[in-house]
Every structure is written in structure tokens, then in C-alpha cells.
């Protein structure tokens, strides 16, 4: 690490390089493609074996659940929702960073996103898969879950669109679809790169099919960029809406501890916080293992730490706000819900959450600590733990002690609950490892656009030298003051060098 270039400087006069190690285009291509092309490493094999074993356990648990009933979990009356929904909200939250990086940072022209967006997006999709699984299997009769969709039927029954759960179905479904399209569309040029580099026929066919016959035509690039921009513009409100809608599950209910208007921004901030933490958890080992230090640089990590710190502070503010609102409402049930959260039987959950989400990220204020990767990694792991406990606290403490003391009861997870939580990580890492093994983990085409020599240095008069402009910005929408055709004809005979 000592020999790494510190490109984390925030000095506005100096533009920090986003690609280090002196890589040119081919260097970038080699670095990234090498991961998919080289022989399977032992480390990958071991990691994959572990991940797929947990996936197998998850499958076995689901089989047991299906044949037996949702009672295999610890859910009860009053805690009708337990681990499955905690896990659902947790994973949906994790799934926020990818599209946020792709869409919002794209619109804000944060060029550093290009180093991490691909696998952050992949992470998003896999997290959404993990998330979507839980509500699907948590319903009492999963084989009838298709009733959530408005399909014409002989009963003439339709879904009930006032239910936030149905909003969830639409929000998470849309989010999963759009994220996937975003990820895949962005990957097409890179798949074409892998296709063009492959020597084996199988790979050429496989990559060839998924590359859709991409030729790098600039007429294609034009529409591609426009589509990408539109997707980013659409995904930006979407990414904010998804966790808002998920938070409506709670916010629109009347349960003390759930029924609060601060939830949508609070959840979104929490999701971004947790999502970036997860990106860091994945990126820090990945850049070591796959040799991506030149593409995922200190600066990338530094920026992510700052986002974590910012969103973490929003989360802390939301925590404080909840308590203030409860106190200020003079509503006994609200006040009790928060007293109970801190001093009730699940106090350990609250303290874990507070430590992980409110105290731990404060270390990120210090640039020195941000540069120590093990510190960042630890804080990121803690942030994920904290975010899981946040959802646990919200769901479990509110449900176990609501209005009537007669129905108060503790929630205790069963072994199946724990195995399925671990199993969902198995699913996530299985997919992620497969992605790392076979797909371009860094958006090569995008990285190349932020490399210095990707910009034309035309000697022609009138060309705008604008380093900081987005490369994707549609030029033709700018007022074209300098018409190229005015008086300069590059194909005039005098310009054509005579044949040797």
C-alpha cells in the first residue's frame, strides 16, 4: 500500500488522476479482462465453495419451509414479521449503492464512479435478488404469491392498490428490472471486449451473444449514451423512491415506532450508507485479489468514505429526530415505543445499532484513517451490522410491544431464521463470485473515457477545451457557435499529404 499513489487530494487546482499506474487503454483492458480470462485461482475456488455451500443450506431451508409452513421461523403473534422482513429491508438497502453510483453520480458528473460502478451495480442486482426472495417465501402461501400481480382471472379479483406491500412489489420489481437493464446495457461494450479477446470458441459464442454484436460504432454510441443518460435520469428518482416505498410499509401503518413521516429520507440515507459500506466491503478485498488497485484507487475509497460519513450523519439525525418527535408528540404510545427501544428487552440491539451507525463512522472524519484500508473495512462491516440491527430494532421492538400490554410478547429467532440469513449471504456471494469470474468487473469503456488521452486535442480552431465536462453530455444540444464548416476544409488538396 505504501507504493500506492495518494490521489485523494481535494485541491481544486489539481485534478487527481482516476487511473493510476500509468495504464493506457490496452492496459486498462488487460487489467480488467485478465480477471475473467486467467485461470481460476485457488482463493476464488475456496470462496466459491463456501458461498455455494451456504446457498445450498438456503435452498434446503426454503424446501423445509415450503413443505412445512412459515412456522419454521420464530415469527409469532404479535411479531408477525421477523427475520425475513428484516433481511428484506436490509438487502434492499444494500441494493441502493449500485444504482446510486451509476445514476446519481453520473448525473452529477462524478467521474470517479467509473471505477466502481460496474460491480456496485452487480452488487445491487444481487442484493435485490436476495431481497426479493424474502417477501416471496415469507408469505403463508407462496404458491399464490402471483395474486400480487394484476392478472385477469375467473374470480374477477384484483390486487388492492392501497397496500404498501403492493407498492413494494411494484417498486422493488421496477428497481430490479431497471437496475438490471442499466447494468447490462452498460456492460454490452465490455462484453464485446471480452468477446473480441477470447480465444476459446465457447467464450466467443457466449460473450458474442450477450454482446449483441456490438461494434463500437459511434452512431450506436450516440444512441447508447443517450439511452444511458435517460436511464440515469429515470433511475435517480427511482433509487430514491424504492427505499421510500419500502419505508411506507412501516410509515403508513399505525404502529408506534413505525408510524413516522421521517422514514422515507431516513431509510434512503440509511440505504445509501449501508450500500456504500457494502461496496467498500467488496471493493477493498477485490482490488487486492484482482489487481485493480490502479482502477479502484485510494481516491475512490476516500470518496466512498465521505459519502458514508455524510449519509451516516443523516441517519444519526434521523435517529435523534425520531426521539424528538416521540417526545414532542406527547403521545404515550410513541414515547413508550422509543423508551422501550433503548431500555426494553431488546436494548442490546439498539446499542449495537447506535454504536455501528452513529459512533463508528465518526472515525471517517480523519483523512489518515480513511487511508488505512483495514480501518475503512472494519467500519464498513460494522455499518452493515448496524444497518441490519436498525431494521431489526424497527421491526421487532415495535411489533413486540404495541398498544395492548396483553399481547406483548418476545420474538425469538429459530435456527432456520439464522441459517436463512447466512444463506442469503451465500446466495449473494455466489452470484458475486460468478460475476467476478466471468464478467468485466470494471466498466472499461467508461474508464477509458475518463482517461486523459480519451479527449481529443484537436489543433483546429474553435474547439472547446473543457476538461471537466462530462463526456456523455450531448454536444449537439449546445449552441453551436463555431461552425466547423466555416472556412476550413480539412480535405482540401493542400491538406492531403502526397503519397510517398
Amino acid at each position: 500500500m505504501a507504493d500506492e499513489i495518494d490521489n485523494t487530494s481535494d485541491d481544486p487546482r489539481e485534478k487527481a488522476p482516476l487511473v493510476t499506474g500509468g495504464l493506457d487503454y490496452a492496459g486498462v483492458t488487460d487489467t480488467v479482462c485478465n480477471i475473467a480470462e486467467r485461470k481460476t485461482t485457488l482463493a476464488w475456488k475456496i470462496a466459491f465453495l463456501i458461498a455455494i455451500s451456504w446457498l445450498g443450506i438456503l435452498g434446503a431451508c426454503i424446501g423445509y419451509l415450503m413443505t412445512t409452513g412459515v412456522g419454521v421461523w420464530g415469527n409469532n403473534q404479535p411479531a408477525s414479521w421477523g427475520f425475513p422482513i428484516v433481511n428484506f429491508v436490509f438487502w434492499v438497502g444494500i441494493g441502493h449503492a449500485g444504482t446510486l453510483i451509476s445514476a446519481i453520480l453520473f448525473l452529477f458528473r462524478q467521474n470517479w464512479r467509473t471505477g466502481i460502478n460496474r460491480f456496485a451495480e452487480a452488487m445491487t442486482i444481487f442484493a435485490v435478488i436476495c431481497a426479493a426472495m424474502f417477501p416471496g417465501i415469507h408469505v403463508g402461501r407462496p404458491w399464490l404469491a402471483y395474486w400480487l400481480f394484476p392478472l385477469p382471472n375467473q374470480m374477477t379479483m384484483w390486487p388492492q392498490f392501497r397496500s404498501p406491500l403492493l407498492w413494494d412489489v411494484f417498486a422493488v420489481g421496477t428497481y430490479g428490472t431497471v437496475s438490471f437493464l442499466f447494468w447490462y446495457v452498460g456492460m454490452v461494450p465490455d462484453l464485446a471486449t471480452l468477446r473480441d479477446r477470447s480465444t476459446s470458441k465457447i467464450k466467443q459464442i457466449a460473450y458474442g451473444i450477450f454482446a449483441l454484436g456490438w461494434t463500437g460504432s459511434n452512431r450506436h454510441w450516440h444512441r447508447f449514451e443517450r439511452a444511458y443518460l435517460l436511464l440515469a435520469a429515470l433511475a435517480t428518482p427511482l433509487v430514491l423512491s424504492v427505499h421510500s416505498v419500502v419505508s411506507f410499509d412501516f410509515a403508513t401503518s399505525q404502529l408506534p415506532g413505525w408510524h413516522t413521516t421521517v422514514f422515507p429520507p431516513y431509510f434512503v440515507a440509511g440505504a445509501v450508507y449501508g450500500g456504500f459500506a457494502m461496496v467498500l466491503v467488496l471493493a477493498i478485498p477485490a482490488r487486492e485479489l484482482f489487481g485493480l488497485k490502479d482502477l479502484i484507487t485510494q481516491r475512490h475509497i476516500d470518496n466512498m468514505c465521505k459519502i458514508m460519513l455524510a449519509t451516516g450523519l443523516i441517519v444519526v439525525y434521523a435517529y435523534a429526530d425520531e426521539f424528538f418527535t416521540a417526545w414532542y408528540s406527547v403521545n404515550h404510545y410513541e414515547r413508550f415505543a422509543f423508551m422501550n427501544r433503548v431500555w426494553g428487552p431488546y436494548w442490546w440491539g439498539w446499542f449495537t445499532m447506535t454504536f455501528c451507525n452513529a459512533i463508528a463512522p465518526q472515525f471517517l472524519w480523519f483523512p489518515k484513517l480513511r487511508r488505512k484500508l483495514w480501518v475503512v473495512f472494519t467500519i464498513a462491516v460494522l455499518a452493515n451490522v448496524g444497518m441490519w440491527f436498525e431494521r431489526f430494532e424497527i421491526i421487532v421492538t415495535s411489533l413486540t410491544r404495541d398498544f395492548l400490554p396483553s399481547s406483548w410478547w418476545m420474538f425469538k429467532p429459530t435456527i432456520i431464521d439464522l441459517l436463512m440469513l447466512a444463506g442469503s449471504f451465500g446466495l449473494f456471494f455466489t452470484l458475486f463470485l460468478l460475476f467476478c469470474r466471468f464478467l468485466p468487473v470494471v466498466a472499461m469503456a467508461e474508464v477509458k473515457t475518463v482517461m486523459p488521452h480519451s479527449h481529443a486535442h484537436p489543433e483546429e480552431p474553435g474547439h472547446r477545451r473543457d476538461e471537466h465536462r462530462s463526456d456523455y453530455w450531448p454536444d449537439e444540444h449546445r449552441p453551436d457557435t463555431d461552425d466547423d464548416d466555416s472556412g476550413y476544409d480539412p480535405i482540401a488538396p493542400q491538406a492531403v499529404p502526397a503519397p510517398a
Binding site: G69, V70, Q160
Partner: protein, 1035 residues
């Protein structure tokens, strides 16, 4: 074509067809009789045994939720010939009676196509009516006895055991040939022949007993019940020289003083007493029957009973203090020969002074009741006090006791054990009961039975006693057999069978007839023979039928006893000995152990401890602290050399110095449901001290035992306790969800009951009033609810609610649609905590929070205000339950109906929606109410306001062109409630009782002010009538 309104009888048709039959065109048509059919395709019909039993048709209705083809092929089996007057698909009701511990109560059994599916109280029987002629109540045991009848583990075979104890199946024929040989030899002598019977009030049993003793003059008849009321008999003997039975009239009682008498729950006449008691509580309202009057109840008790929990002035004391308290009270009332020389504690002194003052003032409107566990002299004092205040003849009737000359049950069984040990008994017939399990431990009765050469047992189950008898005979359930019985006041009625014996059992009278070698062994004929002299009319058949239909023989009460009090010398009370008293109590689930295999009762929480599926040792907080134990810790209790480890339950309000132990758990041979649950406290019981005994040693052990209960909020951390207290209110004060007031305050200002209630303001006019064409609503009177669980069992039976089992209850997944929330007010060590019961079922909120969150529309409102729950649409997201502020929704985490309650959560590798159809036991299905869907796994369920009853009545009324009137529709819980605390009806009807009650100044809706849920169920605030506040006010 005849008008549909004029039903044309079959005869008319027949006539016209007869004429038709000879018409030429008909004969012509008949030639091609069955066009379209080939003769050989006609298959002979197969049938199932139980279909025949059930008669027609709806065998499968209501079972399971779905099928395929769309539907699997179903068969219909009509009657061969229609039974007279029976319309398939219309439930019918039959009156009958049942006995528990030798005292009967009247029942009305609903039968659906030949299978009894619901037991209710008989509204015409004085033991069970709550609104005379309209509503009858039956307690939880009586209602749950239905499940007992269908119990697949009930004894179905005659079993013979060889001398070596080897068991083999036998037949009635084999037994009869053995009996005729064995008893034929003993005829006219019978020395060495003993009969041990459970207690019975049956006239026919008494007649058969006479006949048997005539056939075997030297035979001896013993009677034993583990939970006996012989203490009262002994007390009467002390007071009057012979036993008499006190029959109370609490509807006339302004002041009720009980000394360890649980009149409202474990007393045999508790339904009557509770109904009468409630009349004097409801009258607190300015609009009541006797407006502005309210009884005051003083309870001195050694445990914590239901009566104690609704008492206005409760005095928790240990068993040794009952007598001195009674004596002091008597002295103050001026009972002759009693001097007030007892030293009382401050609490006792206050209670006695207040009670004495009230009793004196009330005069003949007062009543003193003494419980069975009290010593005879306390009973004598009770009789004397009633005499002294003039209550006898008004609130207390003394009537003749049945079999006045029999020895007490504990004497009888000790005598029998002695005779067996000395080898005098060679043949022992045991009718019912379960003495091998429940006889006092010092008698080692199971061993004794084994030593008798010939033992015959008639029992419902092959239980502990059957296991040590040479012959076990299956007994017919009372719903399967003929018989007769008398209630506490002596009113006689007939027990009629609702179904043929499912498992080929025989009743006690039939068995006794076989033993006596009588020619008449058919139950019905025996009963008719017994009743012949009782019925006055000329036409016996008609009179008998009339009694059968009404279920009651009017005017058959026991005659009043003409007794003169004797001069009794009352000894000084013995000083209290140090140590902890053990007090044996009947169990709320199993009674004395007999209902151990009854899942409905196992899963009905104990009214006060809310324990399920097991018992525990109730400790006061003070005693538990002294011992260093708390709930779930195991202590070891030693008495007379016997030691029992038992789990502790710290019960708020348990008298200090008393360990409450309920009898009836720790069964080992009861069936799959009841085996190996709880603690067998009979092991500590001795024949000389059957009610209470001083423990030799109580020691803390290192073990712990996680007790299963439905509510534990009285055992929580300080944050939770603070939140709870705010909601239920401090002692004597209203809280947020519970409202209460003292009677004095309420009389002065009816609004006091709801003091400080806020009214929610509406932001918009509700778009729907939910009142077309009816507006269903309910009120629940917290003032009269005694938490007895009758409604919960009624709901379970009516609505096909599954039994989930102990493990599921431990996870808190019990399914009772109506739960009775029990709150204690007061510190954990408060000796006199306030108790409030709040039955909580779906509130049918107009702005129901559950509805808006269901993504598939499985729960929504109908136009009459019912919050509908459509099981077949439910996919089980459980969101509705989360959003229900009352947490009254219940979820089928597993397919509970198709699983053994002791082993839930077994995988099922088939189409999930078919699980019930393929795995629910055929016999178990017969108990289902066909008008209510049997829910499968993965769906939510909840109280429906008994929508099936609403529709059944409303449809029938509409077919007649009428609308429902008030009182036509009675929900199952309302029906069962002995105190009429629950009232249901149409809020559109201004004259309906429910409408009036919802306008009562005590009426409020739980959480409505907070959440604007607009519940259709409203509660009436509790009114307490403590002596203290009144005196304080006067002062």
C-alpha cells in the same frame, strides 16, 4: 304450478303421479326409460361407514380450501328414507344434561346432519339459563366435552389383562360370558364385591344401585370424587346434625360474603350463580333493572379465584385463618355462642369490620357462603350467620341433600383401601373416575387395585386405573347414551344420546344392569322405567317426550330441608404454624385430570395465571422472594415423605404463606394430548388433609422450567411496567385502554367512568356508514365479565379453531379468536391487587387498519360493518396483523388441523392446499362446524362476529319475508357468557339492547380516541363497589 310459498306435500304429488302412471303417454315414455345410459355402466355404489352415520350429504363441506378438476369428484349419499322432521343441512338442537362431580347442568346440543357439533347451555333449565327461555350458558368444561366425545383416543375396545399383566383385546361378548359366570356364582351374596363409583346425581344410577345391592346384599358401594364438596356436608352435619345443601340466590343478594368459596367458577352451580350475580352488577347503571343498586362482594380466600378477582373487598389469607375470620365475623353479627376472642391482623380486622357492618345493614339481603375446603365449624358459623341476618329463606335456601347418609368421599376411599389391603375385597367394579391416579397418595390405591383378584373398570379412556384392572370396558360418552341427572338445586332432566356410540361403549346404567343380571339392559328402557313414577300425566310417552324436549322436569327441585340449628360449641382457632401451606385447587384445564386429553381445554388459558398446557405452583411475591425463586424456577416441595419438584409461578395477589397447587396434571396414561404435561400434585395429597396441608419443606432447586402462558406482561422490566400501568391505569383509576370507576363516583356522576376521555375530531366525513341493511355491533361489559373462558371455548367450537399445541403456544401462536386480557393493577407484592378482565376479539373497526394494508384484498368491509376475512383469498403476508392495534388476528403458521398438537411442524410433500383433505382424521372432521371454513396453513383468521349465525338467521328470516329482530342472532360468545357481559345486535335498531348499551355512559371504544379506528365493539367501563371509598365519601 303451485306457488312456492305453499309447500306441496309428497302425498299430493303421489296422487297426481298415480294418476299419471296409467296415462298412455307416460307408459309410452317409459319404454325408453333411460336414454343415454348403458345398463352395464351402472356401478354399484360404495359407501363409507361414517356417511351412513351422518346421513346425508355435506360430508366434505367446509373442509379444506381448494381442489382440482376444478373440483375432485364428490359423492352425495341421500337418506334411504328421510327421518321424520329432519331437513338435511339444517342444524337441530336437542336438550340434554351433563354431570361433573355429581352435579348436573342443562345443555342444548346442536346437531348437524346427525353429528353433534356444538354444546350450549339449555335456556329452559334453571341451572343454565342466563336469559330465561332465550339464552343458556354452559361452562368451558361442558362445551369442550364435545371434543372428548370425538376424541379418537377414547377407549374403543374391551381390554382384558391376564394375571401377569399382559394386555389383550377382547370383546363385549367375552366380557359378558365372564360376567355371567363370575357374578352368577356370587348371586344373592356378594361378599367381597365392592363397587367404586364416581359421584352421580342420576336417578337411574340410584335405581340401578338399589337393584344391584338387592342382587348382591353383601356387596359394598363406595363413592369417590377427588374434588368433592363434602366439606359443606360435614359443616351442615356439625350445624344441623344432617347434611343439607345451601342453594344461593345471588340475584337477591346485596352483600355477598364468601369464605374461601369460589361461587362464580368452581362451584357446581356457578353458571346460575354468575348469572344471578351479574344482575346485581348491571343494575349499577341508572337505566338497569333495579337502577342505581349494586351488590358488594367480600371474598376471603386462600388462593386467587375468579370470585376473588371480581370481589370488591378481597382478603387473601392462609387456610388456617378462615376459621378465626369466620368466627370474628359471626361474633360481630351476634351469632349466639360465638365470642370474638380471635386475634386478627390489621387487614383482616378491616375486612371483617366492613363486612359485618354491611351484612348487618343488608339483613336478609346479605349472604354468607363458605367453601368446601373450610373446616366444618366454619361452615357451621356460615349457616349460623345466615340464620342470624335472616338470609335463610331469602338469599339462601337450605334443601335436602342427596344420599344424606353416605360417608364422605375421603372416608369412603380410605375405607375401601383398608378393606382391600386386608384382603376383604375379591371383586372390584370401578365406574368412571380414575382412582389409580387421583386417590390420595397415602392410600397407594393403584397398588391396592392390582391386588384385587377381579377388577372391572368402566371408563371413557384406557387410563391409569384401566392399566391396573383386569378388565377395561369402554364407556359410552354422555352424548352417546341415555341417562338422567339433577342439577345443584335438584332439578332433574334426561340425558339423551345425540349419536350412536362411536366406539361401541356402554353407559354406567347399562353396565350395572349387566352386573345385576337384569333382563333390561338397554339404556333408554332403564331411564323410562326410572322416570315412570316421576311423571304425573296420563300419557307417559307424551310426558317423557316433553321432558326430553325441554331437557328439564319442572318443579323437581330438592325439597326445602326442615332443619333446626343445634347449639354448637366453637373451639378456639389453632395458632398458625410456621411454614408454607399447600392448597389444592381444581385445575382450569383438566378439572381433576379427567380432561387431560382435551385439546380445547388444554389450550384455554387459566383465567388468572394464563398458563396453558400445564400447571405450576402459585407463589406470592413475598414467599417467592423469601425463597429466592421466581417464575419458571423449580422448587421441590415435600409433604409426608413425598417430594415433588414443581415450577414456580409468581401470582400477584396469591395469599402470603400459601402455595397454590392445581390438581390434574402429570397424567401418564391419558392419551397423546394429555400425557406427560405439568406436575402431578396428587402425589402430595393425603386422605386426612385433602384440601390444604402444611408443607414439610420447600426447597429451591437449580432447575428451571419454561412455563407456557399467553400473557406475561405482569412479569416485565420497568420500562414495560411503566408503559403498562399508564395504559391500564393505576389502582382504582382509569387508564388509556381500561376505564373504571367506583360505584359511589359513578352514582354521583355517570361520566366519571370515562373521566378524561378525549373525542377524536374528523378531518373528513366518513364516506361509508356501513349500515346497510344492518349495522352489527357488540358491547362487552367489563363490569360483569368474570374471565371464565366460556366464550373462548364456545368460539373455539363454533368456529373450528385449531389446537396448536404446547410448543406453538410457547412461541405465542395460539389461535383463540377471543382472548381474555387479564390485567393486575397494583405492585407485584400487593396482597390485594385489582384484576380486570377485558375480552378482546376483532373490534370490527369501521376504519379498520388491517384492511388498507392487505395487498390482495383478503380482508375488507362489508356493507353491514363486518370486517370480513376471506381465507381463500389470503396469501399470508401477515401485514394485517401487524397493523391491528388490538392484535386480535391469528395466523396459521402450520396446518394445525392436520397435525398432532404435540408434534406440529411436520413436512408435507404434496400439494399444500390438499393437506387437510388428506390428513385430517375422519373422526376429527366430524366435530367441525360445516358452516365455517376450516382454515389451512398460511392464512390469517379472526373473529367474524359469527357471520355464519348472522347469515343463517337473516336468510331464514328473509325467506319468511321478515327482518331480523333483536335477540334473533346470538353470537357463540354471547351465548356462552354466563353473565351476559357480551351483547350483540343491530345498531340500526334503536330499541336493540346493543344500541342502548352503546349509548350507556360507561361505553367506550378501546384506542378509538388515539387511532380513530371506530370499533363496532364497545366496552362498558368497570364499576367497583369497594367499602373503603364509600366510607371515605361519607366521612
Amino acid at each position: 304450478m303451485p306457488s312456492i310459498n305453499h309447500h306441496v306435500t309428497g302425498i299430493e304429488y303421489w296422487r297426481s303421479l298415480e294418476q299419471l302412471a296409467d296415462a298412455p303417454e307416460v307408459l309410452d315414455a317409459l319404454d325408453k326409460e333411460f336414454p343415454g345410459y348403458e345398463a352395464d355402466t351402472i356401478a354399484s355404489s360404495s359407501r363409507r361407514g361414517f356417511l351412513k352415520l351422518m346421513g346425508a350429504s355435506l360430508a366434505l363441506a367446509g373442509i379444506g380450501l381448494t381442489g382440482c378438476r376444478r373440483w375432485p369428484e364428490e359423492h352425495l349419499a341421500p337418506y334411504s328414507s328421510n327421518p321424520r322432521g329432519r331437513i338435511p343441512g339444517v342444524p337441530e338442537q336437542y336438550a340434554t344434561m351433563w354431570e361433573l362431580g355429581g352435579v348436573a347442568s342443562g345443555l342444548l346440543v346442536t346437531s348437524y346432519d346427525g353429528r353433534p357439533i356444538k354444546i350450549e347451555g339449555n335456556p329452559t333449565h334453571p341451572s343454565s339459563w342466563t336469559v330465561k327461555g332465550k339464552i343458556g350458558s354452559a361452562d368451558g368444561f361442558a362445551q369442550a366435552s364435545l371434543l372428548e366425545m370425538y376424541d379418537p383416543q377414547r377407549s374403543a375396545k374391551v381390554v382384558a389383562r391376564t394375571k401377569t399383566g399382559e394386555k389383550r383385546d377382547s370383546t363385549w361378548k367375552a366380557f359378558e360370558s365372564f360376567a355371567s359366570k363370575h357374578f352368577g356364582e356370587q348371586k344373592a351374596d356378594g361378599s367381597g364385591f365392592a363397587i367404586l363409583s364416581e359421584s352421580s346425581s342420576s336417578l337411574s344410577v340410584a335405581d340401578q344401585k338399589k337393584r344391584l345391592l338387592a342382587a348382591f346384599p353383601k356387596a359394598q358401594w363406595f363413592e369417590y370424587e377427588p374434588l368433592t364438596r363434602d366439606g359443606e356436608r360435614d359443616g351442615a352435619k356439625t350445624a344441623f346434625g344432617r347434611p343439607v345443601r345451601p342453594v344461593l340466590h345471588l340475584d337477591k343478594a346485596a352483600i355477598v360474603v364468601t369464605l374461601d368459596a369460589d361461587l362464580l367458577s368452581t362451584h357446581p352451580a356457578h353458571v346460575r350463580y354468575a348469572a344471578d350475580w351479574s344482575a346485581r352488577r348491571r343494575s349499577a347503571d341508572p337505566s338497569g333493572e333495579k337502577p342505581g343498586e349494586m351488590s358488594r362482594v367480600y371474598v376471603a380466600e386462600c388462593g386467587f379465584s375468579i370470585t376473588g378477582s371480581v370481589a370488591d373487598e378481597r382478603l387473601p389469607i392462609d387456610p388456617s385463618r378462615i376459621y378465626p375470620v369466620a368466627k370474628s365475623l359471626a361474633a360481630r353479627l351476634g351469632v349466639t355462642g360465638v365470642t370474638s376472642d380471635e386475634h386478627l391482623s390489621e387487614m383482616e380486622e378491616k375486612w371483617v369490620a366492613s363486612a359485618a357492618a354491611d351484612l348487618k345493614q343488608a339483613g336478609s339481603a346479605g349472604v354468607v357462603a363458605v367453601g368446601p375446603a373450610a373446616p366444618p365449624h366454619a361452615h357451621a358459623l356460615g349457616y349460623a350467620m345466615n340464620q342470624a341476618i335472616g338470609a335463610v329463606g331469602n338469599t339462601v335456601m337450605l334443601v335436602e341433600e342427596q344420599e344424606a347418609d353416605r360417608p364422605s368421599h375421603f372416608q369412603a376411599i380410605a375405607d375401601l383401601a383398608g378393606q382391600i389391603t386386608s384382603g376383604k375385597i375379591t371383586t372390584l367394579l370401578i365406574i368412571g373416575g380414575n382412582p389409580a391416579y387421583d386417590a390420595p397418595a397415602d392410600l397407594a390405591f393403584a397398588k391396592a387395585i392390582e391386588s384385587v383378584p377381579v377388577t372391572v373398570r368402566l371408563g371413557l379412556y384406557e387410563d391409569e386405573t384401566s392399566a391396573v384392572c383386569k378388565w377395561h370396558l369402554p364407556r359410552a360418552h354422555y352424548l352417546e347414551s341415555w341417562g338422567d341427572a339433577r342439577s345443584w338445586d335438584g332439578t332433574a332432566g334426561i340425558v339423551q344420546p345425540l349419536i350412536l356410540p362411536l366406539y361401541g361403549g356402554k353407559s354406567a346404567i347399562e353396565i350395572l344392569a349387566i352386573f345385576s343380571g337384569e333382563s333390561e339392559t338397554a339404556g333408554e328402557q332403564i331411564v323410562r322405567r326410572t322416570w315412570k313414577p316421576l311423571l304425573k300425566g296420563d300419557d307417559f310417552d307424551l310426558e317423557f317426550r316433553r321432558v326430553l324436549e325441554a331437557g328439564v322436569l319442572e318443579g323437581s327441585e330438592f325439597p326445602a330441608a326442615k332443619v333446626e340449628p343445634r347449639a354448637v360449641s366453637y373451639p378456639a382457632a389453632e395458632p398458625r404454624r410456621p411454614g408454607l401451606y399447600i392448597r389444592f385447587e381444581p385445575d382450569a384445564h383438566t378439572y381433576d385430570g379427567r380432561f387431560a386429553n382435551n385439546g380445547w381445554l388444554q389450550e384455554t388459558p387459566d383465567p388468572l395465571t394464563k398458563l396453558l398446557w400445564e400447571n405450576a405452583a402459585n407463589f406470592s411475591k413475598k414467599d417467592a422472594d423469601a425463597l429466592g425463586v421466581t417464575t419458571d424456577d423449580v422448587v421441590s416441595i415435600s409433604v409426608n415423605g413425598a417430594t415433588l419438584p414443581v415450577a414456580v409461578y409468581v401470582l400477584v395477589g396469591q395469599p402470603v404463606g400459601v402455595i397454590g397447587l392445581s390438581l390434574g396434571y402429570g397424567r401418564t396414561v391419558s392419551g397423546n394430548i394429555g400425557n406427560d404435561l405439568g406436575f402431578n400434585t396428587y402425589l402430595l395429597r393425603t386422605s386426612n388433609a385433602p384440601y390444604s396441608i402444611l408443607a414439610a419443606e420447600v426447597r429451591k432447586t437449580s432447575e428451571s422450567h419454561e412455563l407456557v402462558m399467553t400473557q406475561n406482561h405482569h412479569l416485565i422490566d420497568s420500562v414495560g411496567a411503566a408503559g403498562r400501568d399508564k395504559r391500564i391505569g393505576e389502582k382504582y383509576e382509569s387508564g388509556k385502554i381500561i376505564h373504571e370507576a367506583s360505584f359511589a363516583a359513578y352514582k354521583a356522576n355517570p361520566g366519571a367512568a370515562l373521566g378524561g376521555r378525549t373525542v377524536g375530531l374528523q378531518l373528513f366525513d366518513p364516506p361509508n356508514q356501513f349500515n346497510s341493511p344492518h349495522a352489527w355491533g357488540m358491547t362487552i361489559d367489563l363490569n360483569t365479565c368474570i374471565g371464565c373462558n366460556a366464550c373462548a371455548v364456545a368460539c373455539q367450537a363454533e368456529n373450528n379453531i385449531p389446537i396448536v399445541g404446547k410448543q406453538q403456544c410457547r412461541k405465542h401462536r395460539e389461535m383463540n379468536w377471543i382472548r381474555i386480557d387479564r390485567y393486575f393493577k397494583g405492585a407485584p407484592d400487593d396482597p390485594r391487587p385489582e384484576v380486570i378482565y377485558q375480552p378482546m376479539a376483532c373490534q370490527h373497526c369501521e376504519n379498520a387498519p388491517c384492511e388498507q394494508v392487505c395487498p390482495v384484498g383478503a380482508t375488507m368491509h362489508d356493507s353491514e360493518g363486518l370486517n370480513t376475512m376471506v381465507y381463500n383469498r389470503c396469501i399470508g403476508t401477515r401485514y394485517c396483523s401487524n397493523n391491528c392495534p388490538y392484535k386480535v388476528r391469528r395466523f396459521n403458521y402450520f396446518d394445525y388441523h392436520s397435525q398432532d398438537p404435540r408434534h406440529t411442524g411436520m413436512p408435507w410433500n404434496n400439494l399444500p392446499d390438499n393437506q387437510q383433505m388428506e390428513t385430517v382424521d375422519k373422526i376429527k372432521r366430524m366435530v367441525f362446524n360445516p358452516e365455517v371454513t376450516v382454515r389451512m396453513r398460511g392464512v390469517m383468521e379472526k373473529c367474524t362476529y359469527c357471520v355464519q349465525r348472522i347469515h343463517r338467521t337473516a336468510t331464514a328470516k328473509r325467506a319468511e319475508g321478515k327482518d331480523v329482530e333483536d335477540g334473533d342472532i346470538i353470537t357463540a360468545c354471547q351465548q356462552a357468557c354466563p353473565t351476559q357481559a357480551i351483547v350483540f345486535g343491530n345498531l340500526n335498531d334503536a330499541d336493540a339492547e346493543v344500541t342502548k348499551l352503546q349509548k350507556n355512559p360507561r361505553a367506550y371504544a378501546v384506542l378509538d380516541a388515539t387511532l380513530d379506528t371506530r370499533p363496532r365493539t364497545r366496552y362498558l367501563a368497570k364499576i367497583r363497589n369497594p367499602a373503603a371509598t364509600e366510607t371515605a365519601k361519607e366521612a
